[in-house]
Symmetry: C2
Subunit: 197 residues, 2 copies
């Protein structure tokens, strides 16, 4: 009996085997391994050797980089449906990944992702990521704190609220949002309550 099934996985549309089927999908499923982590654990550390991708099934993670001068910053958040490792495969992990809560993941070994049938899909996932970074970049350089935060929240809502609920929970701390947005925690807080009116 197979513990894990991509066939029935609700996140398949955003995952690597989105369009895979038949033999290819079966082989893929067999090489994927599930993993579960509690809050505050490092899934990978910066400069760890890259061995495979991780697909987020539930929970969330932050990507943290330590800059040269000791400043460390949150450069992105990974939500369910996201794939970690898209910028790492050639060499090493460029950032650490830390869980923001209990998190379930699928580990996709590199050889499974590199199947020729999936090459196009992998490329398009990386491109999507690149485009998302472009958009995030504009928002971060051209908007002031309140609007910047608003843009962050809209993005988070879009990616976190899978059910069309009227509310959703943010898995990260305000200080982590602040680091991500390049603001002080105090400013972030003020912007937040300003938006709450």
């Amino acid at each position: 009996m197979r513990i894990l099934s991509c066939r029935t996985c609700p996140r398949r549309p955003t995952c690597l085997p989105a369009y895979a089927s038949g033999e290819c999908l079966a082989a893929f499923e067999d090489s994927v391994r599930q993993r579960e982590l509690p809050e505050g654990r490092a899934l990978v550390h910066q400069d760890d050797p890259f061995l495979g991708y991780y697909a987020v099934r539930s929970g969330a993670l932050k990507a943290v980089v330590a800059a040269s001068d000791g400043i460390d910053g949150v450069i992105m958040f990974l939500y369910p449906g996201d794939i970690a490792g898209l910028g790492a495969m050639t060499h090493r992990w460029p950032k650490s990944l830390v869980t923001l809560g209990p998190t379930r993941l699928c580990w996709i070994p590199e050889h499974a992702a590199k199947r020729p049938e999936l090459a196009g899909r992998l490329t398009s996932l990386i491109e999507d990521r690149l485009q998302r970074m472009y958009r995030a970049r504009i928002m971060r350089t051209s908007l002031h704190s309140a609007k910047r935060l608003a843009a962050f929240l809209i993005d988070a809502a879009y990616r976190l609220a899978h059910a069309p609920e009227a509310w959703f929970e943010l898995p990260m701390l305000q200080r982590e949002i602040a680091s991500y947005l390049g603001l002080a925690t105090a400013s972030t807080n003020r912007a937040l309550r300003e938006l709450q009116q």
Copy 2:
């Protein structure tokens, strides 16, 4: 007689066919087309359909995006050896590309870049781009104006000064640097002369 030869191209190490040889390289060369543009021309416009990559042989370009509210910003600069289109291929060009001076390019049609022998190379180019964006992102959120400008200049020097000269020319205007760094033109200017001492 072949007008264009990747074999002898000094930029091949950073280009798509870096490690290609023999038959593959010959076929690649045959499908590439050269193109030359004067200053201030748009190579592609935002949302144009994507038909292929462009490798910069000489000159430079800026990548400009028009945000929703009319603000347009310079997202990146392309220097000789860079490849344009790494974030576009699935759909459309996410940004406009405008020459900053007379610029020579190689157009690489999509089918040529998608040759299976080059798949790995293409992926690693996209990853390099992604990593560069990560690094640029840290620098932009964690540094103040003078250091931010310094980081930009170091990057530009590294990518522009192919001959180990003691100086090099920046192909873009100060206002474009300002847009790229998310500063006012006045602040950029002040930071520049502060660095000049």
